[in-house]
């Protein structure tokens, strides 16, 4: 008998062990998503990064949200009126409850934007700086007055920084608000295992269309291969940031689906316009002509993304989409260099940070530049040291990326080409009063054919002066289980999960 109980116990332990190994059965009421990083905080203005935005998107609502076609649509604001180029009036939805039971009123909107303009909103100041005042007309009517015409305002409202906060909840939580968010969104915050996963629960009192599933779990899995493995094993439903190496595996797996969209980032090689010989536009043009950017993009990224033809990424308003692809012309490059009187061989440095794709692009660029007599040395720097180094103005060429977090053309260009941003985000030290003027005009013109023409002209002008060689527009690539419906990745880099359902 004793031996039998021992065996039975052993068998039971073994069964439990195997059961645990098999992993928890996936409840159809839970959506598990894996992102590359964990969010930093759930306070929408404390930081400007993608993982945080992705979570805030589900806990909060904004006055306006980004519609499927990329234009702002009413969310917490039922309707809005542009009274003049400095004044915007919003009528708020009535009876919207925050997760703590309080009703959303105009006072909360005023509080949200005054807080965004305070030192707490240092990371997103550039999106709200032009707001002068927020007036409460009555409990459900708010009027915004700008300091000067600021056309990107409506688009800026759709950004995470425009998440409407509850004044009571923020003040009560004080410094710990980032871990105790209260919004009006389709999901309520449940728990956060820092660095591992965030769990959200469906908001049963949501004013809009409720999600089809009860629980949303966002896991942080930094290793790309791991995300793919978890997707294949069924442990997660959606994996963000599928890398080039894993593309084929996901595509060829009959149980999985791949979804992709070109995003709002531009990777470029910048030329230091303040340092000879790159202060001469002919020399810059020569560098651009010497390079086969289409070929470089294909070789390094192997089918992911595309080679840009203009500084504004293709899914942003007024991007140039129909220009001809860049053509390499080594003879013309050599001619331009001779015309500019450059003494060959020219010794320069290409700076980049440690991202493998950037080092690969630099290597191909190095060999192509040699054909025209430019000897480039590649210098790889750690990210923090890289940004510091670019401020010293001693670099020749550098590979960097730029993202327009608010997808308005103003934010795609002024940070990198305006003379006032020199040394802060404009590392090509590009200074041109005509370009400055065009950008300032573009910021103030209302959306329409006039603004469109201005940005097209602006991009052509920048192109002719060639402070940048455009290298790559990246793609957002997500893998999902075949039974996931209602998921569409966004060029913003963070994606809406509220409409997802299981087939």
């Amino acid at each position: 008998m004793k031996r039998f109980t021992k065996l039975a116990l052993l068998a039971a332990v073994f069964a439990v062990f195997t059961g645990m190994c098999a992993g928890a059965a996936l409840a159809k009421d839970t959506l598990i998503v894996a992102n590359i990083y964990d969010a930093k905080t759930l306070d929408p203005i404390a930081t400007n990064e993608v993982a945080t935005s992705g979570m805030c998107l589900h806990v909060y609502d904004n006055l306006l949200s980004l519609g499927a076609d990329g234009a702002p649509v009413p969310q917490l604001a039922e309707k809005y009126e542009i009274i003049d180029n400095l004044t915007y009036k919003f009528n708020l939805r009535k009876g919207v409850k925050f997760h703590n039971g309080e009703e959303m009123k105009a006072a909360d909107v005023k509080y949200t934007f005054e807080r965004a303009k305070s030192p707490a909103g240092a990371s997103i100041r550039q999106y709200v700086d032009d707001i002068n005042t927020v007036e409460v007309i009555d409990d459900y009517t708010v009027v915004f007055k700008m300091k000067r015409p600021f056309t990107p305002f409506l688009m800026a409202l759709t950004h995470t920084c425009g998440s409407i906060l509850n004044k009571k909840a923020v003040e009560a939580a004080g410094d710990n608000y980032g871990m105790n968010p209260v919004g009006t969104g389709p999901f309520k915050f449940k728990s956060w295992a820092k660095g591992d996963r965030i769990t959200l629960e469906r908001n049963e009192e949501y004013w809009g269309k409720k999600p089809a599933f009860k629980t949303l779990v966002m896991r942080a899995i930094p290793e790309a291969t791991n995300r793919t493995i978890e997707l294949e094993s069924g442990a997660i439903d959606i994996a963000y940031q599928i890398t080039t190496n894993d593309l084929k595996r996901v595509q060829e797996n009959p149980k999985l689906a791949l979804m992709r969209v070109v995003d709002n980032s531009t990777t470029y090689m910048g030329l230091n316009c303040s340092k000879a010989p790159f202060d001469n536009p002919k020399v810059r043009k020569a560098v651009s002509l010497a390079l086969d950017t289409v070929g470089i993009q294909k070789a390094v990224w192997r089918g992911v993304g595309k080679a840009p033809v203009a500084p504004i990424a293709p899914n942003i308003l007024y991007a140039i989409k129909d220009a001809k692809p860049h053509v390499q012309d080594v003879e013309a490059a050599k001619k331009l260099l001779a015309e500019a009187g450059v003494k060959l061989p020219l010794n320069v440095q290409i700076w980049t940070n440690e991202r493998k794709e950037r080092i690969d692009m630099a290597t191909i660029i190095q060999s192509q530049l040699e054909e025209v007599g430019i000897k480039a040395e590649i210098k790889v720097l750690e990210w923090g040291a890289y940004l510091d180094g670019l401020k010293q103005k001693t670099h020749d060429m550098f590979i960097l990326g730029w993202v327009a977090s608010v997808p308005d053309p103003e934010f795609a260009v002024s940070g990198v080409f305006h003379s006032s941003m020199v040394g802060s985000t404009n590392f090509s030290y590009f200074v041109n009063p005509d370009v400055d003027k065009m950008m300032e005009q573009g910021k103030a013109l209302p959306n329409g054919p006039e603004r469109e023409k201005l940005y097209k002209d602006l991009q052509e002008k920048i192109d002719s002066l060639t402070p940048w060689v455009y290298l790559h527009n990246d793609e957002q690539i997500c893998g999902t289980q075949k039974n996931i419906k209602g998921f569409q990745p966004s060029p913003r880099g963070y994606h809406v999960l509220t409409n997802v359902s299981f087939e």
Binding site: T47, D175, A220, N226, W383
Partner: protein
């Protein structure tokens, strides 16, 4: 065991022990100040602006300058250092993370459970495998078993942990589907990372056990025990192992203390939110308070483990116990 036997000695022994512990804790203070100074200097001299890293590359120059003023980053080195030490020593405040705005102590405490679980499991596996293998290798020196064990120990020592980790994932997660490849919440999720991390520790413990046992087996009192007619089992277990344990305990303690500092590669491969990942991210982002707090934590953890190991000696080896008299 003899430590507890004599009742008259009991009270005096405890008092001495407590005095010893107190002295050791006091000696931590210069260590912590020294460590803080070194880390502070390194961070000060390293290029990279925390304001720019934390606020992101789209933030305005104004915002960056305001951040630097708010955090006192443009003050002279000695002012910043004195401010930090004063707050830490007298107010128990080691600051807030620049990135998440959470208190540094909270950040480290969140990451600590995963790290200690990983460290503990790895060390337990290492002890369970390493010590027996080491003993048998020592007894059967130069045999086939010994050669094979030493070969595997060499392999375990030389194998990079991320390579081993990926191999384990490939075999046990992808092909066989026995264990998950990431996370650390369930027991089955802890198996692969602990095994991957323990490979080096097993190798070290095996080799140390073997050499320590070999040394002890040659000594006179073992010969005496055998001459007295003791069974070989008792000779090994009671007499040899007890005396061989000191170096083994030392090495296990060192390894455990080292692992408490975080195992960044294992944590990255298996997506474990431990102290290693926390620290590397903090350094990348120039999150000064978190880096400093993290280093302080590692110094304290290591010192505490060393203290426990030293106290353990007394229970293990009667010769050391005698020093307390």
């Amino acid at each position: 065991m003899g430590f507890f036997c004599a009742p008259a000695f009991f009270e005096e022994g405890w008092k001495r022990m407590l005095k010893y512990i107190f002295r050791r804790i006091l000696s931590l203070i210069p260590v912590l100040i020294g460590v803080t100074f070194i880390v502070f200097s390194l961070l000060y001299l390293t290029p990279g602006d925390p304001a720019r890293m934390v606020l992101g590359d789209q933030a305005t120059e104004e915002a960056v300058t305001d951040f630097r003023i708010k955090e006192g980053l443009d003050d002279p080195f000695i002012v910043q250092f004195a401010r930090y030490v004063y707050k830490a020593a007298f107010k128990g405040d080691i600051g807030r993370s620049y990135v998440t705005k959470r208190p540094v102590s909270d950040e480290i405490l969140s990451a600590f459970p995963s790290t200690i679980k990983l460290a503990a499991f790895s060390v337990i596996i290492a002890i369970c495998l390493g010590i027996p293998f080491g003993i048998i290798s020592a007894i059967k020196q130069y045999s086939l078993f010994d050669s094979i064990t030493m070969f595997f120990a060499l392999v375990g020592l030389s194998m990079p942990v991320f390579w081993l980790g990926l191999l384990l994932i490939l075999l046990f997660s992808v092909r066989l589907g026995w264990f998950p490849s990431s996370g650390f919440d369930t027991f089955s999720a802890m198996v692969l990372p602990s095994v991957a991390l323990s490979a080096q520790v097993i190798a070290i413990v095996t080799r140390m056990t073997r050499s320590s046992m070999l040394e002890v087996i040659r000594s006179d009192y073992i010969r005496t025990a055998r001459a007295k007619g003791q069974t070989e089992g008792k000779v090994i277990w009671r007499h040899a192992l007890g005396n061989a344990l000191i170096p083994i305990v030392t090495i296990v303690g060192l390894q455990f203390g080292h692992l408490l500092g975080g195992a960044i590669l294992t944590e990255s491969i298996f997506s474990i939110p431990g102290v290693g990942r926390l620290m590397v991210e903090a350094i990348k982002m120039r999150d000064y308070p978190l880096v400093q707090g993290g280093v302080l934590y590692v110094a304290v953890a290591f010192s505490v483990v060393n203290l426990l190991v030293d106290l353990l000696y007394a229970f293990v080896d009667p010769r050391i116990k005698a020093q307390y008299r």
